[in-house]
Assembly symmetry: D2
Homo-oligomer: 310 residues x 4
């Protein structure tokens, strides 16, 4: 369960209020506004606000006085051109704001994307909720043997059970000790009048890295797509990839033309080095090139063959 009843009620109240605006408005995104998309066991992403639409990208590229009178197909063509040729500034003219609930170790990866605005729930000021991420059994993977920062086979049997028990027990015990040291209930009431209670800014250090935090996160479409290109990638850690995937799905509703161009020219595209292009030319000329004669290292050769679906 990702939301308490009172949180759900607040969201519901906000969804029910409406106003009239002259601004660019996207009905498909309005329909999902404020709603929490559940992720992992206690996390979510929800859209809080947005600015602009596909047409806003075009308007900025043209520095227009009005909405313009071109056809949708012309706009989409311009957006594809801008994406293909990395004219990135028009995509910066759309902005979106999310409310995200996520484990702290995921937040630490996420925050490395610097061109964004962030307000995080403060554990100096408030008491964090009793919620920690415990992976689903099918996500409990061994260290990859080929990739020093990836996952290998899924753990099984007793080893898997032990790991789950440890994660759950340690997080729970650390949290219990956290509120004990604070000397206050989650509701804020003093537990033991004989004790002073440790300062919140100190007590938090006892929490484990799978404890959930939350923040408001706001960025422009260009930087959002850059985030997605790195975090929706197969090399990204699963626990942040689910957030990037959910965000990409939001982008599809928000700016469908930009989303399609991104899938074609960025996420689905392949970049070949100067040496790889030379090999490609030899192959296309009919030569049967093998790795030893390719001039590529084994690793690059493998990457080339993979990109060609071989």
């Amino acid at each position: 369960m990702n939301l308490t009843d009172s949180q759900a009620a607040e969201i519901s109240a906000q969804r029910s209020s409406q106003a009239t605006t002259r601004r660019a408005t996207v009905p498909a995104l309005e329909a999902r506004l404020f709603e929490a998309i559940p992720l992992l066991d206690h996390g979510f992403v929800r859209v809080i606000d947005y600015m602009g639409d596909d047409a806003a990208i075009v308007q900025a590229a043209r520095v227009s006085y009005g909405r313009g009178t071109r056809r949708v197909s012309e706009d989409a063509g311009l957006i594809r051109y801008l994406m293909r040729h990395r004219h990135t500034t028009p995509f910066e003219m759309c902005e979106i704001k999310f409310h995200v609930k996520l484990p702290i170790f995921v937040a630490r990866q996420w925050i490395r994307h610097r061109t964004a605005n962030v307000n995080e729930y403060s554990a100096r000021y408030s008491v964090l909720d009793r919620e920690f991420y415990i992976p689903e059994p099918e996500q409990l993977a061994a260290q990859s043997s080929s990739n020093r920062q990836g996952r290998g086979d899924v753990l099984e049997g007793e080893e898997a059970a032990d790991v789950l028990a440890v994660l759950r027990d340690d997080a729970t015990r650390c949290y219990d000790h956290y509120v004990e040291m604070l000397n206050e209930d989650e509701g804020g009431a003093v537990r033991d009048p004989e004790r002073q209670g440790l300062a919140r800014e100190l007590a938090r250090m006892n929490l484990t890295l799978n404890t959930y935090t939350q923040w408001y996160w706001k960025t422009d479409l260009h930087n959002l797509l850059h985030f997605c290109s790195l975090r929706a990638d197969a090399h990204a850690q699963y626990e942040i990839r689910v957030y990037a995937d959910a965000i990409l799905d939001v982008v599809k509703d928000w700016v469908p033309a930009a989303h399609a161009a991104f899938m074609d020219y960025r996420l689905g595209a392949a970049t070949f080095s100067a040496q790889m292009v030379a090999v490609l030319k030899r192959m296309l000329a009919g030569e049967a090139v093998a790795q030893p004669a390719s001039g590529l290292s084994k690793r690059e050769w493998t990457e080339l063959i993979a990109a060609l679906g071989g």
Copy 2:
């Protein structure tokens, strides 16, 4: 005249379209949306889009699930607290987008504010309009004798007339030669079929720095207020100050509580150095301090007296 008829018609068409939204909406800003605020002789600022309101600052500071149920006065109190203690991130949660028309030499100062998104009308791609900034006579000032980067007395008589004539003649001649070298009319038609026409990216170099350009400019409220604190300041050049003043007026309609806090704690505030504070304490203790015994340089002493309205 700042707008052509067709530009005015495009703006009018955009103003007449409306939609329903669940987003935070500010009626006072909606009322001015898209309208050009005329500045200098041919420039303007107009709001193209915005995200958030005073409540959005508060929501982000609290990482809220809903709009919150606090009273307006509580929200204003929190905003004042955030401004006073330089908790700047909640102000980054509001975003605004402008369309600005401005002389190139002003654009060159403006662009130094890096935390913003910009799309400028491209003179590599298009032909610039025949519009240049010519100061009003009361803005034709002499070099300041006391400040190496300021203005002194207003020029008068023949010298003023000469300057105005030079500015107008040189800009006009340079522009005439610009279109002549391009070999195209402002409408785009070829002038002399015998000539090829110089590339736009080269021809533009013949224009003077008072030629008008235009851009879409988008930034968050924190950075916008920082822009205003530097450019609405008495030391800023008049030609950019009029833009900052107009923007501050927009901010007042958009986020009145943040605007009031900014006026009190930033634009209207005074910062005193450690040495100045020491002098203040002596004064408040009844001592009649004069500059030589103050420990302040003459320049700092003058600044202190000025801040105290002396």
Copy 3:
């Protein structure tokens, strides 16, 4: 103990190598280069590299061809002028790079300063060391009763002893389980050949927030001073303030004129709101102003009196 023998040897080797350079060089900073300044129980800051000196600020402000021939006192005067009038760009022309070891909860505050370059030790890729921050008894403070994000009295007796025991036990147990789940020794050897070992990117989530991490952190002098103005402030949490204080001490060796100007015009300065300045004027005119008639809220009145050392 903050360094292992092999780490100390590596640092010592690096300190012993020298080269000739035409670049601006600061002997006082060279003397401390690479040396670790111990902080907290296992942390440190050490300078890895730097660019520029006080003269480089002046050169940039003047866009000079050479080092310039002005006297040191003239340079210091210009630096004071730049600092006082918030001409910040010349200070961006100096750059410094640190290697920092710090608890994760401190790293999470620190990383909020976005205008910096960071490479953090990766717990996806490597195994973290068995080191966690345990506060000194005199730092074990209760929650402040007046400030929701501050500390009050120091805990004493049994409560203090309990807190220290909990922090130590929980961090130790979580770390022990971490390496157990990894199924590898700190040296990297497999512990139990019957088990696969959990992926590093997952196992790390069991660590507590007082576990130490480390990073290379590089920023320019302007942003470094901004960091110090916020983090060397009395309102900053003690555990990050010790880092900011140590960095300020490095700055003093590196760019003494900029440091002095910063202490006078930023860290030691006081900013008074428009309303506070009005009160000051009345006081200086001899009026005995009290809070109720001041027009200031109680909170602002208290801040004013505090700034005046009352």
Copy 4:
């Protein structure tokens, strides 16, 4: 001629001073330090300072305590890996500072790269030099007929002569009027004691966009390479490309391993869209694909064939 005698003397004096340092030092870059690389008719780029070398990239990626003991080939391999997989943060750990003299219309393109530190010569404060960019005859190109922001054939005969004469005359006249309005010689002496002289911040608006300006510009290696990838590209305007080319040449001396990786994986690489990759696969399977059956637009088809050297 790009430098006055006194400027050359200042540079020469700076080149002759030496110091000892423990910092990473690059002899090949030291050899060219401060020397102006002449560009266009009056412009230049010169390196003022630098931080780091190839090994610094590796150290940051590993968060090392010392210089490390790996072989040069291992370091180069890691740098290639980082470049190929867009692990960009280690490249941010090297920093470089340039002094650049460039025409204003080039400066306006350049400044769009926001992640950099800039101090520009102030025309509010000082008088600009009498220097303007006049293209070489072989750079006087017509507008491209196929590309709205490119150049076509070189102008010839009378049209070329006319253009050169106009550019020279207009820039000269505007500059002459500039100093006349200022009422001061380039040396600073008052010309006509009967006149006040127009403020510098106003007079500058009469200058043409090919007037030279200059600035100190500092950035990190990652952002420098991004600048080069856009501005050393064939689609960049010639007048900025010569600067990017000169900078790339400096990078080669400074960080040869990073430079080589950049040439292979960025500047010399080709990116193919999802659709292009699908076509490539069909071609490699032996199919004779033509544009109509390719699923690519004509424009994309042309780009694919061009990338394959067809």
